[in-house]
Amino acid sequence: MRDLKDRKELLETMMLIRAFDEKVDELYAEGTLHGTAHFYVGQEAVAVGVMAALEEGDVITGTHRGHGHAVAFGLDLERMAAELLGRASGYCHGKGGSMHIADVEAGMLGANGIVGGSMGIACGAAWAFKQRGEDHVAVCFFGDGAVQEGIFNETLNLAAVWKLPVIFVCENNQYAMSLSVKRGFAHEPLSERASGYGIAGETVDGMELDEVHRAASAAVERARSGEGPTLLEAVTYRYLGHSKSDANLYRTREEIKQWRTHDPIQRFAAKLEEEGVLEKEAWQSLNEQAKEQIEEAFAKADQEPEPDPESALEDVYA
């Protein structure tokens, strides 16, 4: 698990996430990658802000838009890159690809290609903590779209009734594919669903890392002290298309531009400058470093061998 106690680390991690997904976008554009991927660009403050509230032993579940969660958690960049390239050294030995990167042993319980698909899994991890008397927490990331799915209701209710140490982090990035939150819901903020379950709920500016961190810390604190789950809504935005193939017909350029003015990385960098943590303009060189790290990860991964085709028949059963 990534150690995020340092404020510069937080910024660097956001930069890594962005550089990673911008690289992936580029690789799709040039036809190097197959399958599909979903980019976290714009939402970096959510994963990093939440992760900063966690401690060794805590676990997370991700989504189809999962690279950000994985990088924030501290997964190895080269093994992530290798997985996207379908290599044997990838996290899933090339079997999972973008939507299934996981490091179960470390506590990253997997991205998930099914919207809402990991909500039960996160509750199960929280159940295990509770049953074993451990004071760890499980964080479940999901999008606004998942709030529309049945399992949202089932798992929030279970977690509420059993006071499970789970934090439901809804990344409200304004769209579920082409469906805007305006068209997908008749009521906002989404965190107001929480009261109906008898749990805590809060909506925060998901472009503001410190806000996310503060709210997540409070939620983690509640969970650790046996007060049960929280529904934490982080209002954010995805800059890029839903997935590698998206003509963005359902939103305007202006809207995207407008949101980009609230960029979580720039905001946080500016803040660190103000705080004196960062020297003026230093963030640009940090950004270059992040990009280099990503380039290196992909370059190294690209040297790795393809898996043996016959390995496709393995790992069905333990």
Partner: protein, 340 residues
């Protein structure tokens, strides 16, 4: 002829054929509507409904929240009231969310109500692998639904059948699961402009031959055809059947062919164990045609694994024309048995 097309037949893609059927049905009948995730301005995940919301409006080409059980249920209720809903499940893998609605409701309401209800619902969904989308976006689960009385299951392999069978499905008073294949969407074929119906429940002999019967459906029916061409170069003339409808299954057509050739290979994309091919094989060997078989029949199917991400891994576990040829060779080379 409109656009000067002879007999109104043009070459269009499978995608366009599906769309054309929907558009024609919606123009004809105000009670037909299309509902699903991103079917509106996005045009559907695979572009099938592109342009439709512009013609029919958001009231009839309906973007839904992510709620597969909910909106399939809604489709059932609307169908019960006499409407003709087309519900799209964005990837057939997500049909797992709607199993109760499809299996316990749509399929059974009529029977449970003693025949006094109809559920003319069409569920369209793209199935199949080959796109590198990995295990949760690549499945072929159609065998589940042929195990559910009350549902019909169709899986056309050509643009012509796609259009004609979708229109037939919309006429049908029963719930129909309509399987499309992502890798078929760009395939082209001759399709009449006017509306026409291809009856559900009838297989099609897509190639005649005397030596061996290959039965396929959907994308892999094309693999069977390709294999047949390769075999023909070796002097083996395969008869190829396109099942088209998996339920009700036209096993009579299979029996007729097997009576002639005495040899059967079923080509299916789904996981081999308990796939629909097992039902084809079973219906053949349970019938009198068993005695016409002079070789053990064979299935060429997906491996008993989830679908892996890596291209080569994925190719390794999927059926291919080559694997069909290989199975045919193996079958032809094996010892013959002729009943006394």
């Amino acid at each position: 002829m409109p656009n000067g097309v002879p007999n109104g037949v043009r070459e269009i893609t499978y995608r366009e054929a599906v769309r054309e059927a929907m558009v024609e049905a919606m123009r004809e009948d105000a009670e037909v509507f299309l509902m699903g995730e991103d079917v509106g301005v996005y045009g559907g995940a695979f572009g099938v409904s592109r342009g439709m919301v512009e013609e029919f409006g958001e009231g009839r080409v309906v973007d839904t929240p992510l709620a597969e059980a909910g909106f399939v249920g809604l489709g059932i209720g609307a169908a019960l009231m006499g409407m003709r809903p087309i519900v799209e499940i964005q990837f057939s893998d997500f049909i797992t969310h709607a199993m109760d609605q499809l299996v316990n409701q749509a399929a059974k309401l009529r029977y449970m109500f003693g025949g006094k209800a109809r559920v003319p619902l069409v569920v369209r969904t793209p199935g199949g692998a080959g796109t590198g989308a990995a295990a949760q976006h690549s499945q072929s689960l159609e065998a589940w639904f042929i195990h559910v009385p009350g549902l019909k299951v169709v899986m056309p392999s050509t643009p012509y059948d796609a259009k004609g069978m979708l229109l037939a499905a919309l006429d049908d008073p029963n719930p129909v699961i309509f399987y499309e294949h992502k890798l078929l969407y760009n395939r082209k074929g001759d399709v009449p402009e006017k509306a026409y119906r291809v009856p559900l429940g009838e297989a099609r002999v897509s190639r005649e031959g005397e030596d061996i019967t290959l039965v396929g459906a959907g994308l892999v029916h094309r693999f069977a055809l390709e294999a047949a061409e390769a075999l023909s170069d070796e002097g083996v003339e395969a008869e190829v059947l396109d099942l088209r409808t998996l339920s009700p299954m036209d096993h009579e057509a299979v029996l007729r062919s097997v009576e002639k050739t005495g040899k059967l290979v079923v080509v299916e994309e789904d996981v081999k164990t308990a796939g629909w091919g097992a039902e084809v094989v079973s219906r053949v060997v349970e019938s009198e045609s068993f005695y016409a078989l002079d070789r053990a029949p064979a299935r060429v199917a997906g491996a008993d694994t989830p679908i892996p991400y890596n291209k080569n891994l994925e190719a390794f576990i999927r059926p291919t024309p080559e694997k069909v040829v290989e199975a045919a060779h193996k079958l032809l080379d094996s010892r013959a048995g002729v009943y006394a």
